[in-house]
């Protein structure tokens, strides 16, 4: 075992539990939620490994969580951060010395060291980049699982189409010749959405509803994969045909949409439900999870999926620089 320091740098939560708000992941200042601190390095315990973290992405779910708007309560004083990559430095596992990815609410990976259950360590292929390894779980497994919810031949609608999950789903749809309509906010995003794999775009600006209704009645998409949850999404759902399903997995908007077409649920057999990766992990057999992770690494290494990497912010500059970095294109990472 390497000589370990007694303390480490970490970004710790300043509050307990839930905030009761529903503002969404937008964040101007980290100070109300996070604090840069020097805390004790966790002690290795039975069944756990200690990881020297290398890098972690900043996902919308991390921001929901630190704001107290996620499905798990905050623990004041514990580090934030849901997933990342690092090197195993201690623990009763042959993976000591190897690079692994870890993920989970409560792991607290925005720190120099993190503890993770040995059973959940994901070894990384050597040809997998650190950025891809750091972000291989939350978004890629969500994208795979959401895509798998379509019934054979049913076209898709994807909101937040240029997010990492959105792009991954569009790419899967293109590979499988499945029409996928990207929902975007500005006409200038259409080219990027088509390049990512969208067959068509709905631009929710100006007088967009009539064109959208016409497009939907032609393409007949029945699965709406949604991370936004605003009125535009509710209206798009209302335009969809019989047996349409609004599958929500994120809430980027703070709007509370009105359901103008509740009657569609009765007469048109529509439904609204949600996806949460934590539940997927609980309900999916271990071999299917391992299989999905193999698929993710293969797709990254062969270039079928590419992480649009944005700013990479060192741990000791996160408090000052992350809010600005989040406003730049691409996914932000923290170098740990």
């Amino acid at each position: 075992m390497t000589d370990l320091p007694e303390t480490m740098k970490a970004l710790i939560l300043t509050e307990n539990g839930y905030s009761g708000t529903a503002e969404g992941p937008a964040i101007d200042r980290l100070e109300p939620y996070l604090e840069a601190a020097e805390i004790a390095v966790p002690q290795v315990k039975d069944g756990f490994a200690l990881i020297r973290m290398i890098m972690s992405p900043v996902n919308p779910s991390d921001l929901h969580f630190i704001k107290g708007e996620y499905g798990e309560p905050r623990v004041k004083g514990a580090p934030a951060g849901f997933e990342g990559v690092g090197t195993v430095v201690a623990g009763d596992t042959p993976l000591v010395g190897q690079r692994v990815s870890i993920a989970g609410a409560g792991l607290g990976v925005w720190a120099e060291y993190a503890l993770a259950p040995i059973a959940t360590l994901i070894p990384c292929r050597p040809d997998l980049k650190d950025t891809d390894a750091a972000a291989q779980i939350v978004n890629p497994l969500t994208a795979l699982a959401l895509y798998d919810e379509h019934r054979a031949g049913d076209a898709l609608i994807v909101t937040a189409a240029l997010s990492q999950v959105g792009r991954m789903i569009l790419q899967l749809a293109r590979e499988n010749d499945l029409p996928a309509i990207a929902v975007i906010r500005r006409e200038e995003q259409a080219e990027a959405a088509r390049a990512a794999g969208a067959s068509e775009c709905i631009v929710t600006a100006g007088e967009w509803r009539k064109n959208a209704a016409r497009l939907i009645s032609t393409v007949k998409p029945r699965l709406l994969i949604d991370a936004v949850g605003d009125q535009a999404v509710a209206d798009i759902f209302g335009m969809m045909p019989n047996r349409a399903r609004w599958l929500t997995y994120g809430k980027l908007s703070s709007e509370t949409p009105r359901l103008e077409t509740l009657g569609h649920l009765i007469f048109m057999d529509k439904r609204i439900d949600g996806f949460w990766l934590t539940r997927w992990f609980r309900d999916t057999p271990p071999d299917a999870i391992a299989n999905a992770i193999g698929t993710v690494q293969e797709r990254f290494v062969t270039g079928k999926w590419q992480t649009e990497t944005g700013a990479i912010v060192p741990l000791d500059q996160v408090m000052a620089k992350l809010p600005d970095a989040l406003r730049q294109p691409g996914k932000c990472f923290i170098r740990l």
Copy 2:
């Protein structure tokens, strides 16, 4: 075959298709939608029987339909009316001369005679009252099917609790010792709701939300059977625990509810979907349908279910008297 007249009295639709509105079933005047007319008696055709109608209920779905707000388009000039009881007077069936119930969008039973597919005729036990026989399909089968959607041991919430369907579900819950919370609008309705089978009541008046949340957190109901679809119902759904399901089968309110808790669908595995008896008939095996109908007749004859009968309006007085009659307690019937 009896000597049949050439023409008959009927209440016919004045419009085609859908209205595009979503006002709900409230109705002040029938004139915009219906007309009392003398039209040709339908000709018997292969596979169909002609029924001399006796009586038909006026259900909310009939009112939605004549207003153009139901899941099937109107046909101008055709009679309205979805279900009723009558005597078979012609057709290639041993049921000629017998009393049968019929139901279906497009049957047009608000007339002296109606055609119905022989395969769908429901023979009535002699001990079944005409009012119960007339209304034995739409509401009772809906109540049975909705009740069957609860998972073993899961408590229920029932909106429009004093409607015919609401009362039937409450009675089923009581027989099975299942806690059922009735949602009512006025405190004065609580006694009737408890008598019908409710274990508890939520009165959606005044400052009701805090008490409702406390009650729901104690009883932990997971199935919300809803015929109202207003903001109060959406708020009640938001108070319900993990795995709660909002099952909508009617839209008595014209409010468009806001979904304040879309995130619950993600983190709490909640969902919203709909029930339509027409789909239930399509998706349910014939022997299960026959079984359910047997159960319904048995429950009426033995008094386990009782139709709260309101006004019975003769066919030739419907245009003048039905709107007033609908404002009285109990279910309205048309004597044909």
